[in-house]
C-alpha cells in the first residue's frame, strides 16, 4: 500500500517535474525566440543604417544590442564588418575577420562581403585578392556544401571584372560558375550564352594573341552549340547572333549571312514567342536583321561601282533597305533602330540620286515620336541601372533624331549627368551649358529645364565637386531667375553654408531672396536668417531692421515670441538698453496675458516658457545697465534687484538663477547694502551649492560688474583675486586675465596669467603663457616678452598659438628696432628677426584674415624702417586683393586704409588716394574712417585739379 502510494507520489512528482521542465523550456524557448527576433530586427536596422551612410549610429545600435544580449556578438560580426568597411577601415575589418574561425561558411560570406565593399570603394585589386583567395581554397572545384556560394560568388565576381574591363578574367570566372551544379537548364544555358558573348568580346580585343583568339572562339562555338541543342528559345536566338559575329571576326561574311538566313525560321519563331509574352524588347531579331541589312548594304555598295554588277547591287541594296527599315519600324525600341533608319535612308538617297536616279523610292513613314519614346525608355533603363556609358549613347541617338519632343530638357540633363558619372568633364559642361542656354527663353520648357539643371548641380554636390555645382547654380540663378524653385534653392544653399558656419557665403543667398523674391514662401525665414548671421558676426544693430521686418511677417505661434525675444536681445547687445527694456516688457506682457495663444503643442509651450524666463532675466539685467539720468541709477539698480527677485521666484530651477543671485548681491554692494548683499551670496551658496558661482563669489561679483558695464569696478574686483589666489582655479585666472588684457589693464592681467600658468593642464598653461607675454608686450617690456615667446616656441613647436606668437614676436622685435632708430645698423638685426617671425606667420597661416593681418604688420615694420615705398606696396596689396566680404578680414582692411592715406599723401599719389577713399566709402558706408575718407577724397581731388 505504502509502496503503491510512494509510486503514485513518484509518478506525480515526475509528472510535475516534467510539466515544470516543459513550462521552463517553453518559457525559455519563448524568451529565446523573443531575443532572437529582437536581435535579428536590430541587426537589420544596423545594416540599414550602414546603407543609409550612418555607420557611426549602426555601431551604436550594435553596441547596445551586445550590451543587452552578449550572446548576439557572433551574429553582429557581419554588421561590424559592414560598419568598418563603410568607414573605410579595411585593415581593421581584415584584422577582425582573422579573429573569426577560418573556413566556416559564415566567415567566408563575411570575407566575400568585404571583397564587395572593396569593389564598392573602387579597390578592385583588393576585391580580386579576396575573391581569388576564396576560389584558391577549392582548386578541384567546390565541395557540395559551398557549391552554391562558390557559384554565386564566381558569377558576381565575373560581373565585377566585366565592369572593370577585365574580360579575360571574367571568362575565367564564368568558367568557374560552370563547374558548379546550376540545378536549372535555363540558368546553365544563360551562363553559357553570356560566356560565349564574353569570349567573342575577348576575341575582338586589340592585341589579343592568335592562339588565345582561336581558343576563345572555339569555346564560344562550343558553348553556342551546347545551348542550341537544348531548345529554341531566347538563348538559342542569342547564340545565332553570337555565331554570326564569330564568322565576322573570322572574316567570313558569307557564313555570317548564311547563319542568319538559315536560322531565320527559328528566329521568327522565338520572336513571335517573345512578342506574345510582351517581351519583344529582348528579341535578338532586330540585331539579326540589322546585321543582315548591314552586310547586304556593304556588298551592294561595293558592287554598285561596277556597271556589270549594278543590277545585282540594286537587288542587294533593296534587300538591305528592307531589313533596315523593318528594324526601325518594327523594333523602334531596339538599340539598332535609329542607326538602321539612318542607314536605310542613306541607301535610298544613294539609289535615288545621280548617277543612278532610280527613284522615287517609297520610304516608310518616319515615326519619330514612337522611336523617341522607345529609345528614351531604353536610355532611362540604362541610366537607372547605372550603365551611364550605354545610356549616354542612347540619349545622343535620341537627341540626334530630334530636339522637338516633350521632355527634351530632362533628356539633355540626364545626358549631362551621364557624362558626369563617366567623368567626361568637357562633355558634361557642354551639355549643361546647352541645357541652360537652349531653353531659358522658352515658356513650355522653362520649368523643366530649370529642374534638370538643379539635378545636374545636385549630382556635382553629391560627388563633392562643390565648385562645379556652384557654377551650375550660378547659371541657374542667371538664366532661370523666375523659376519657382529658385528661392527655396537659394535658401537651402544659404542653410548649407550657415551649417558650416560660413556666414560670408550664406549671407548673399538670403539677401538675394530678400531683394528679389519678396513674395516667396522662404522670404520671412530669409529675413530671420540674415538677422541671425548679423548676430553671429556681432553686428547686432544691423540685425534689428531684419528682425522687425520678420516679426511683421510672422503670424502668431511660438515664432512670434522667440522673434520678439531675439529683437530685444539685439537691442540689448547693441547697448540700446532702453529699447531693449521696452521690448522685454512688451514680450513678458504678451506671454503672461496671452501665452496659450502662442503654444499649440507641448514643444511650443516649452519654447514660450523659455522665452519668458530669458526675457525676465534680461529685463532685470537691462535695468542694472541703465546709467542715465545719473540721479536715477540707484532707482534702476533697485528695479533690477526686484526684477531678479521676480525671476528667481518664477524660475527657481533656471540655469541663470545662480547668476541672478550673484548679480543681486553685486547690485546690493553698489547700493551700499552690504547686509543684503551678504544675504544674496549666502543664499547662492545655500541654494545652488554646486553652481560655479557658489564656488567663488568674488569671481561672480566681477563677472556681474562686467555684465553691468561697470568695467572699472570689475577690474578692481578681478584684481582682488590676486590677494587670495588659493581661492580660485587656474581657469578662472585665465578668464579674468583675458578680460583684463582686453581692457588693457596689463599689470593686473600679467599677475592673473602668471597664476593661471600654474595649471596642471597643458592647454591652460599654453593659453596663459601667451596671455602673459601679451601683457608684457602691453607693458612695453619687449625683451621679457620675446624671452617668453621664444621659450614657448622651443617647447611647443607645433602649438596652435604659433601664428599668434610669431605675429606678436614680429611686433616686439620691430619695437626694439624702433628704439634704436635712426641707427639702422644697430636696428637691422632686430628688423631681420621681425621679418623672420612674420615669414613664419605667412608660412603657417591659411586663414585669409591672418594673411591680411600679416601684410598689414609687414607694412608697419617697413614704415618703422622708413621704407615707405615698400610699405605702400604692402598696403596696396591688401587694398587690391583682400576679400572685403569676409567679416574677419574687414578690420584689417580698415587699418590698412588708415595707414595708407597719409602715406599716399606724403608720396603724392593723389589718384590712388582718391580711389582708395572712394573704395572705402563704398565698402564701409558706416565705417569708423568715413570722415577721414571724405576729407581724403576731397583733398586728393583738389590737388589733382590744381596739378592739371
Amino acid at each position: 500500500m505504502v509502496t503503491k502510494k510512494l509510486y503514485k507520489m513518484g509518478q506525480w512528482a515526475v509528472c510535475r517535474l516534467a510539466t515544470g521542465c516543459a513550462v521552463i523550456l517553453a518559457a525559455a524557448s519563448a524568451s529565446a525566440a523573443d531575443e532572437q527576433a529582437e536581435t535579428q530586427a536590430e541587426l537589420r536596422f544596423a545594416s540599414e543604417l550602414v546603407k543609409a551612410r550612418f555607420p557611426d549610429y549602426a555601431q551604436k545600435a550594435v553596441d547596445r544590442l551586445i550590451a543587452k544580449y552578449p550572446g548576439a556578438k557572433a551574429e553582429a560580426a557581419k554588421v561590424r564588418v559592414e560598419v568598418l568597411t563603410a568607414n573605410g577601415k579595411f585593415e581593421e575589418a581584415e584584422a577582425f575577420l582573422k579573429t573569426l574561425p577560418p573556413n566556416t561558411p559564415e566567415t567566408m560570406v563575411m570575407r566575400l562581403a568585404l571583397g564587395d565593399q572593396y569593389y564598392a570603394w573602387q579597390r578592385m585589386k583588393d576585391a580580386q585578392r579576396i575573391y581569388d583567395d576564396f576560389f584558391k581554397q577549392f582548386p578541384k572545384g567546390p565541395p557540395a556544401e559551398v557549391a552554391r556560394l562558390y557559384g554565386e560568388s564566381a558569377y558576381k565576381f565575373s560581373q565585377m571584372l566585366v565592369l572593370s574591363g577585365d574580360f579575360i578574367g571574367a571568362v575565367d570566372a564564368y568558367r568557374r560558375v560552370l563547374t558548379c551544379p546550376l540545378n536549372s537548364s535555363d540558368i546553365e544555358r544563360r551562363v553559357k550564352t553570356e560566356l560565349a558573348e564574353l569570349e567573342l568580346r575577348v576575341a575582338e580585343m586589340p592585341g589579343i594573341t592568335p592562339e588565345k583568339k582561336k581558343e576563345v572562339l572555339a569555346d564560344a562555338i562550343k558553348q553556342c552549340n551546347e545551348v542550341q541543342w537544348k531548345g529554341t528559345d531566347l538563348w538559342f536566338a542569342k547564340t545565332v547572333v553570337i555565331l554570326c559575329h564569330v564568322h565576322l571576326v573570322n572574316g567570313n561574311k558569307d557564313l555570317a549571312r548564311k547563319a542568319i538566313t538559315d536560322y531565320m525560321p527559328m528566329l521568327v519563331e522565338v520572336d513571335n514567342l517573345l512578342k506574345e509574352n510582351g517581351e519583344q524588347q529582348l528579341s535578338p531579331m532586330a540585331e539579326c536583321k540589322f546585321l543582315l541589312g548591314s552586310l547586304l548594304e556593304e556588298e551592294g555598295r561595293l558592287k554598285i561601282k561596277d556597271a556589270a554588277t549594278q543590277p545585282e547591287a540594286f537587288k542587294l541594296l533593296g534587300q538591305a533597305m528592307g531589313q533596315l527599315y523593318t528594324v526601325s519600324q518594327k523594333y523602334p525600341s531596339s538599340t539598332w533602330a535609329p542607326e538602321a533608319r539612318r542607314r536605310a535612308d542613306g541607301i535610298a538617297d544613294l539609289v535615288e540620286g545621280p548617277p543612278y536616279n532610280k527613284g522615287p523610292i517609297k520610304r516608310p513613314e518616319s515615326n519619330n515620336n514612337q522611336m523617341v519614346s522607345e529609345q528614351l525608355k531604353q536610355a532611362r533603363m540604362s541610366f537607372q541601372n547605372n550603365d551611364f556609358k550605354t545610356a549616354a549613347q542612347k540619349y545622343l541617338d535620341v537627341l540626334g533624331l530630334t530636339l522637338d519632343f516633350s521632355g527634351v530638357p530632362r533628356t539633355v540633363g540626364e545626358l549631362a549627368r551621364c557624362y558626369i558619372e563617366i567623368n567626361d568633364a568637357p562633355y558634361a559642361r557642354a551639355m549643361t551649358e546647352f541645357l541652360s542656354e537652349r531653353f531659358c527663353q522658352t515658356t513650355n520648357h522653362y520649368e523643366e529645364a530649370g529642374n534638370a539643371l538643379m539635378q545636374v548641380a545636385a549630382l556635382y554636390e553629391e560627388r563633392r565637386a562643390t565648385m562645379k555645382a556652384q557654377a551650375v547654380y550660378d547659371k541657374l540663378f542667371a538664366d532661370y531667375a523666375d523659376h519657382t524653385k529658385v528661392p527655396p534653392l537659394m535658401f537651402r544653399l544659404g542653410e548649407v553654408a550657415l551649417r558650416n558656419t560660413n556666414t560670408v557665403e550664406a549671407l548673399p543667398y538670403y539677401n538675394r531672396i530678400i531683394e528679389n523674391y519678396p513674395k516667396a514662401r522662404v522670404y520671412p525665414e530669409a529675413l530671420s536668417r540674415v538677422a541671425y548671421v548679423m548676430t553671429l558676426q556681432g553686428n547686432y544693430s544691423n540685425s534689428i531692421p531684419y528682425l522687425t521686418n520678420y516679426i511683421a511677417q510672422v503670424f502668431g505661434g511660438p515664432e512670434m515670441v522667440t522673434s520678439r525675444l531675439r529683437l530685444a536681445d539685439a537691442y540689448r547687445s547693441s547697448e540700446m538698453t532702453v529699447m531693449a527694456l521696452n521690448e522685454y516688457s512688451r514680450l513678458i506682457k504678451m506671454i503672461v496675458q496671452d501665452g496659450a495663444k502662442y503654444s499649440q503643442t507641448p514643444e511650443d509651450t516649452v519654447r514660450v516658457n523659455r522665452a519668458l524666463e530669458s526675457a525676465q532675466y534680461s529685463k532685470a539685467q537691462c535695468y542694472s545697465r541703465l546709467r542715465e539720468p545719473t540721479n536715477q541709477v540707484a532707482f534702476y539698480q533697485q528695479k533690477a534687484i526686484e526684477g531678479y527677485e521676480g525671476f528667481l521666484k518664477e524660475f527657481p530651477k533656471s540655469e541663470m538663477a545662480p547668476a541672478a543671485l550673484g548679480a543681486m548681491g553685486t547690485l546690493n554692494y553698489l547700493l551700499n547694502k552690504a547686509d543684503e548683499a551678504g544675504k544674496c551670496f549666502d543664499r547662492l551658496i545655500k541654494e545652488y551649492p554646486n553652481s560655479e558661482q557658489a564656488k567663488n563669489t568674488v569671481f561672480v561679483r566681477a563677472d556681474a560688474l562686467m555684465a553691468m558695464n561697470e568695467k572699472d569696478k570689475a577690474v578692481k574686483v578681478y584684481g582682488e583675486m590676486l590677494n587670495n589666489p588659493k581661492a580660485f582655479n587656474p581657469t578662472q585666472f585665465l578668464r579674468a586675465g583675458r578680460v583684463l588684457l582686453d581692457a588693457k589693464e596689463y599689470q593686473v592681467s600679467k599677475g592673473l596669467f602668471s597664476e593661471a600658468m600654474k595649471a596642471p593642464e597643458a592647454a591652460v598653461v599654453q593659453a596663459a603663457t601667451v596671455g602673459y607675454a601679451q601683457s608684457l608686450g602691453g607693458l612695453r617690456e619687449f625683451d621679457a616678452a620675446i624671452d617668453v615667446y621664444t621659450n614657448f616656441l622651443s617647447k611647443n613647436a607645433k602649438s596652435g598659438y604659433t601664428i599668434e606668437i610669431n605675429l606678436a614676436l614680429s611686433r616686439a622685435y620691430a619695437e626694439l628696432a624702433k628704439k634704436l632708430m635712426p641707427d639702422l645698423k644697430a636696428a637691422k638685426p632686430y628688423f631681420d628677426k621681425s621679418y623672420a617671425a612674420m615669414g613664419k606667420v605667412r608660412q603657417y597661416a591659411r586663414e585669409p584674415d591672418k594673411l591680411v593681418e600679416a601684410d598689414y604688420e609687414m607694412a608697419l615694420i617697413q614704415l618703422m624702417q622708413d621704407e615707405k615705398k615698400q610699405a605702400m606696396a604692402s598696403l596696396v596689396k591688401i587694398l587690391d586683393f583682400a576679400d572685403y566680404s569676409n567679416i574677419k578680414v574687414r578690420p584689417h582692411v580698415e587699418n590698412a586704409v588708415e595707414a595708407a592715406l597719409p602715406l599716399m599723401k606724403e608720396l603724392e599719389r593723389y589718384q590712388d588716394m582718391m580711389d582708395v577713399c572712394e573704395l572705402y566709402l563704398k565698402q564701409f558706408p558706416k565705417g569708423r574712417l568715413v570722415n577721414k575718407a571724405r576729407q581724403g577724397r576731397d583733398d586728393a581731388k583738389s590737388r589733382l585739379t590744381a596739378g592739371r
Partner: protein, 263 residues
C-alpha cells in the same frame, strides 16, 4: 399576395415621409448579427446597459449594449459650433459646449468625438494635464485595436505637455512593442521627441532613423520623422542631414514638414 404588396407600399410611403420631413434623419443601431434598427432617436440607459430606439410611429425597441456593433447618430448642431470655436481659439466658448455634449451623448457616438475635441481645446489652453486625463478616459473605454493612431498621438502630446513622462514612456513602450506598424512608427517619433527633450540626442536620432528606415511604408509618419531627423542632425552638425533633407523634399514635397524646411 395582396398583403405583401400592401407592406411594400406602406414601407415605401414611410420612406418618402422620412426623407421628406425636414431634419428627420434616421439614427441607426447596427447589431452584431448584421441587422439594423432605424429610428428617430437613440437613447442610452446606463443602469440597464441598453440602447432604446424610438421609432417614427412611437414604438420603442430596446437593444442590449453587448449586441451592438456600431451606432450612427445624427450630428448634434452644437458639435460644429464647438469645433468652430476651437478653430478660432475661443476655448472658453468651446469647453462648456463640449462638456455638455459629452454628458448628453454619453455612449451615443458623439461623446468620443466631443471628448477628443475637448482634449484639443484644453491643449490649446495649455492645460495638458486635463487634456491627458480626457484622452486617457476615452482610451480606457475603447478596445486598443479600435483606437485610431491620431488619438494616440493626441494622448501622447498631452502627456508630454503635462510632463507625465513615466506614463508617456510606458504608453510608448507598449505601442512600440505592438503589432500596428503605423502606431509603432508614430510612437518611435514621439519617443525620439522625448529623448531629445531629455538631451539624449543619440537615442532620439536612432528613434527617428528607425522610423525612417524600418517603417518607410508608413507614409503618414515619414515626413515628420524625416523633418525631425534633419533638424536634429543639423543641430549636431552631422554631415548626413542633407541626405534626409533631400529625401523629405523629393518624396514628400507637398507635406507641411517639407514646407517648414523651405521647400
Amino acid at each position: 399576395m395582396m398583403n405583401f404588396k400592401k407592406i411594400i407600399i406602406w414601407t415605401g410611403a414611410l420612406g418618402v415621409v422620412l426623407a421628406g420631413a425636414p431634419g428627420a434623419q434616421a439614427d441607426v443601431v447596427r447589431k452584431k448579427d448584421g441587422t439594423e434598427i432605424k429610428g428617430l432617436k437613440i437613447k442610452w440607459f446606463p443602469s440597464r446597459q441598453e440602447y432604446q430606439v424610438d421609432g417614427v410611429d412611437g414604438t420603442m425597441v430596446s437593444v442590449a449594449a453587448d449586441d451592438v456593433e456600431s451606432l450612427e447618430v445624427s450630428k448634434p448642431a452644437e458639435f460644429d459650433k464647438a469645433a468652430q470655436a476651437c478653430a478660432a481659439k475661443q476655448y472658453e466658448v468651446a469647453i462648456p459646449l463640449l462638456e455638455e455634449l459629452i454628458t448628453r451623448y454619453a455612449r451615443l457616438q458623439w461623446d468620443g468625438r466631443a471628448s477628443e475635441l475637448l482634449a484639443n481645446a484644453y491643449m490649446g489652453k495649455g492645460d495638458f494635464k486635463k487634456a491627458a486625463q480626457i484622452m486617457s478616459g476615452i482610451m480606457e473605454g475603447t478596445a486598443r485595436n479600435l483606437i485610431p493612431d491620431e488619438q494616440f498621438g493626441l494622448y501622447w502630446a498631452a502627456l508630454g505637455g503635462a510632463q507625465m513622462n513615466a506614463v508617456l514612456k510606458q504608453s510608448l513602450t507598449a505601442a512600440i512593442g505592438g503589432e500596428s506598424r503605423s502606431l509603432v512608427a508614430l510612437a518611435l517619433v514621439k519617443r525620439g521627441d522625448m529623448n531629445k527633450a531629455d538631451g539624449k540626442r543619440d537615442d532620439a536620432l536612432l528613434d527617428y532613423l528607425r522610423a525612417i528606415l524600418m517603417y518607410n511604408d508608413v507614409v503618414s509618419v515619414q515626413p515628420e520623422a524625416l523633418y525631425k531627423g534633419v533638424i536634429l542632425l543639423d543641430e549636431m552638425r552631422h554631415p548626413r542631414a542633407d541626405d534626409l533633407r533631400k529625401r523629405l523634399m523629393s518624396s514628400y514635397p507637398d507635406s507641411s514638414y517639407a514646407r517648414k524646411l523651405g521647400g
